[in-house]
């Protein structure tokens, strides 16, 4: 089965998805516009996980914390130093690179669970710093009044307009992710996921390539965090970036199917909408969500789309393994 034969791998699919996303604000009830904006922002962060986990096969458990690092970077620069939107977003990229390279080179030398361990450590420390470094982060009170982007004197603070700002970032991120998978770098990611030792014998510098995949994930996470701070309520607090967010982002990636760009985006949008759809569950929502995570990995190993696809295609499965 060649990679390009799959529905999610076709360029039309990505194009159709982006068109659908562009028309989404006209299709949904304005009441839910905020949810849709959040979905697009989360989708960008989940695309980061697509590089490091989907393609390179490394488990990172701190995507929510990298999201938080970007959000705090943007919020602090915007409220304290009056940096405009493009400058703060540039700073989130720098923050992402810094975290990715520093954490990546120190932990990715080792195989196995060490990245997972170190990222958990990072996530916990990041949250403690958000909560306790009051002079800078304002502690549990959070930071309010992060300024929205301004284009030609027009303030984009309404969800409807901000949605397109976020979507522009997502589209660029998606195209980069799409191109990259089909480049030598993307093949190197996949080679490392399948077998590190074999990858290194073909001349791949395993450490550098893993750090690159990880740094892409931290940059995507931090930029998405910056978008989160500048939009929606223009307010952030440590609660927004708890460990559960990192878990949720992993679930988004798994639901969509780990290794495709459209899968990551659809997974993120669906899981973001889930609390609204399942509102009738009320207090039981998160408990049901936990069970759903287990069921997802047990019964849908290829994600929702992978399952749909094989159900639609009805391939003779017996032949696949040969």
């Amino acid at each position: 089965m060649s990679v390009s034969s799959r529905l999610l791998e076709r360029p039309h699919t990505l194009a159709a998805l982006l068109v659908l996303l562009a028309s989404l604000p006209f299709l949904v009830n304005p009441f839910y516009l905020g949810v849709v904006v959040l979905g697009v922002i989360y989708a960008l962060a989940v695309l980061g996980l697509y590089f490091v986990m989907g393609l390179a096969g490394q488990l990172s458990l701190a995507q929510g914390a990298f999201f938080g690092v970007g959000a705090y970077t943007a919020a602090i620069l915007s409220t304290r130093f009056d940096w405009p939107f493009p400058a703060t977003m540039g700073a989130t990229v720098a923050a992402g690179v810094l975290v990715g390279v520093a954490l990546g080179y120190t932990t990715l030398r080792l195989t196995g669970h060490y990245l997972a361990l170190a990222t958990i450590g990072f996530a916990v420390i990041a949250n403690i710093v958000f909560l306790h470094w009051k002079p800078v982060t304002n502690g549990a009170d959070g930071i309010a009044g992060v300024k929205p982007p301004v284009v030609g004197g027009f303030i984009l603070d309404q969800n409807f307009f901000y949605y397109y700002v976020a979507l522009a970032f997502l589209a660029v991120g998606a195209l980069v992710g799409w191109r990259l998978k089909r480049s030598r770098i993307g093949l190197a990611f996949l080679a490392i996921r399948e077998d590190q030792l074999a990858a290194s014998t073909t001349g791949i510098n395993v450490l550098n390539v893993k750090v690159l995949a990880f740094t892409l994930s931290t940059v995507y996470g931090a930029v998405a965090g910056g978008l989160y701070a500048h939009g929606l309520t223009h307010y952030i607090s440590p609660d927004n970036f708890a460990f559960e967010l990192s878990v949720t982002m992993l679930v988004m990636l798994l639901l969509g199917g780990q290794a495709t760009v459209p899968g990551a985006i659809v997974g993120a949008m669906l899981v973001t909408a889930l609390p609204e759809v399942l509102r009738f569950l009320d207090r039981y929502y998160l408990a049901v969500y936990g069970v759903a995570v287990v069921l997802l990995v047990v019964f849908l190993p290829q994600g929702l789309w992978g399952w749909l696809e094989s159900a639609v295609a009805r391939r003779p499965r017996r032949l696949e393994g040969r």
Binding site: G121, L286, G290
Partner: protein
């Protein structure tokens, strides 16, 4: 001097709690090569069960404790059957995520069933004890005593009995164990049940100190996790010593350095260990450098 003794006993006791949860991590990790992210919640949930049995059912304490431990064992078996077993032939990532799902479930079902207000459980022994010319909370000594007895018992079972040897063989090499006629699936089920039991003991012991909340397990688990890395992932003595080291560091650090950042010490040490000596104090050399 008095203060140092008091802090030392407190640190040792907290370290023992971490050690119990850390052992749960290590035993499951050795048996099936997966980190169980629900390990902390296997301490939290039984603590709620105990609180429930004591207050709502008004059972006497020993009966309630036995009931809680039984619950934990059954839960460990169900957990193995429904979550680990279907995923046993997949890579470690889906299994880890499934255990995270269980963790989210346990935390939130506890929140729904028992509420967010901390539940108090009376200490097993009230009051204070005088040692080295100063007074310490008796519960700390109960924690240390129970844990030490449990560790000794565990050592004897693993080292001296047939089932212990079968468990060890399964952990070392599952195919070989199966060839020798050991029912490895059953051994893995026993490992899950015992890890759940260790978690329940930790929960029962720590409940009188902190009060029981749905979040109780999370922080303990993260610390215990750091302890296993510091001690050397997969090493039983490493996990215990790493946990005691963390407990002491935390208590003395909170007293003399900063109480705000008390919970960060463990993770700063964790990252330092990953940088300088990734195999931990007692671990085997980490293989396959990239």
């Amino acid at each position: 001097m008095d203060v140092v003794v008091q802090l030392g006993v407190a640190g040792l006791a907290i370290g023992m709690i971490y050690a119990l949860v850390a052992l749960g991590f290590v035993l499951i990790f050795n048996a099936v090569n997966v980190v169980n992210f629900a390990q902390g919640d296997l301490a939290m949930f039984p603590a709620f069960v105990l609180a429930f049995l004591l207050t709502s059912s008004r059972l006497p304490l020993p009966v309630a404790i036995v009931g809680t431990l039984l619950f934990a064992v059954v839960f460990g078996l169900v957990f193995n059957r429904l979550v680990y077993h279907p995923l046993r032939n997949r890579s470690f990532v889906p299994v880890i995520i499934a255990t995270i799902g269980v963790s989210v479930f346990l935390k939130n079902i506890a929140l729904v069933l028992f509420g967010a207000d901390p539940r108090r459980i009376d200490p097993l022994i009230h009051g204070v004890v005088r040692i080295f010319g100063t007074t310490v909370n008796a519960q700390y000594l109960v924690i240390i005593g129970v844990t030490v007895v449990l560790l000794v018992a565990q050592y004897l079972v693993f080292d001296r009995t047939m089932i212990g040897k079968q468990l060890q063989t399964t952990a070392q090499n599952r195919e070989m164990a199966a060839l020798l006629g050991i029912r490895t699936d059953r051994m893995i089920a026993v490992t899950f049940a015992y890890s759940a039991l260790l978690g329940a003991v930790a929960g029962i012991l720590v409940a009188p100190l902190f009060g029981v909340t749905p979040e109780l397990g999370t922080l303990i688990a993260l610390k215990a996790f750091a302890a296993t890395v510091i001690g050397g992932f997969g090493s039983v003595p490493g996990a215990v010593l790493g946990a005691v080291f963390l407990g002491l560091t935390e208590i003395f650090g909170a007293a003399y350095v900063s109480s705000d950042y008390k919970d960060a010490f463990a993770f700063v040490i964790l990252i330092a260990v990953l940088l300088l000596r990734p195999q931990g104090f007692f671990g085997e050399k980490v293989g396959q450098k990239a």
